[in-house]
Symmetry: C2
Subunit: 200 residues, 2 copies
Amino acid sequence: MPRPPDPARAAARREAVTAAAARLFAERGYENTSVTDLARAAGLSSGSVFYHFPDKRAVFRSLFERDLPQCRELVERSLDTDDPLESILGMVDALGAEALDPTAPGIMVELLRQVDRDPELARIVSENASVLHRGFATLLRRAIESGTVDGGLDPDEAAAWIQAVIDAAFLNAENDTDPRPMLRLIVGRFLAAPTTGKAT
Amino acid sequence: MPRPPDPARAAARREAVTAAAARLFAERGYENTSVTDLARAAGLSSGSVFYHFPDKRAVFRSLFERDLPQCRELVERSLDTDDPLESILGMVDALGAEALDPTAPGIMVELLRQVDRDPELARIVSENASVLHRGFATLLRRAIESGTVDGGLDPDEAAAWIQAVIDAAFLNAENDTDPRPMLRLIVGRFLAAPTTGKAT
DNA sequence: GTCTATACAGGGATAGAC
DNA sequence: GTCTATCCCTGTATAGAC
């Protein structure tokens, strides 16, 4: 019986391709993974991959399209706080936790490479980064206001550096040690208002 | 007159390929740059590239083979000091300066990708990283001894994180601002012995 | 929707003349 | 040493049957 159109099943197969892509792109890299490789790993034919995705780049992008909602949610949750510094460190922890995913370093590196070569991908990740940036910068302003963060820092510049250090944690995550304690320490000390000198 | 063998000229052409590779690999990525592209940019034929290099990967490796001596020199110079903390920050400055090279971010990302796929490349860069690591760790031990760096830090772990933060500067180098001031600030605060509490 | 088959292009590396 | 010509392979994407 020739299967009736089944959107649920189709979505599942699309998802299978995305999952295979996360693993294979991380292990072997984007260019060293053929669409046929993805198809085999996901249990379908290469022709079918091109039915579900317009081209190979779109498969890669699909890895990041699902991130934006989570990202917004994290920021919203974090903005609702009395202790902005602690909330910043909480965001750092949450983002650092993703570095525990064994595919994270590989995907991160591929992302850095591909983002300059696919404008649509650039749009997606820059939206993502903007959300985080605004979250960090807003919290930094509040924390500076309340005297828990060094007023000599520029909130936007500091936010960018926090994100850079988190990215570095991803790249450095080859070993399976949890980066979060050191990440928290580094960011915490970076931001801390000088204990000596001008208290409020 | 059919030129006599001229090793100097040959070395110059080899060097031209390396220079073209730095630019093109950074701009377009390793896989998206063909040997023919490199050859054209360096002003010779693709056949000649394979005369000077055994294969394409060797061209990429040539970008890093020249780094090791500079690296050793930096560490040696830095170890000869009375103020180990200042010397660490000096190393950070020197390494951060390389991020000003406009090809640095692109090459950095390619390096991260290729290092898992070329054992010979891995050998080269791990030797490089080891030299730096030992330099940082040695200076950290001395600085902890003399009370200028937080004795609660593990020297090896801290050294690894300093290197990670420097990597972060490379990734963040899309804009043309000098990363060194912030780099120094972040590392300095990361390491600083707590001013309150136990003085020696 | 999913497959098989294939068009079409491009790249790494080698051969051999000069 | 340097070139040109080319072998051989692989990969993306499409066509068309089912």
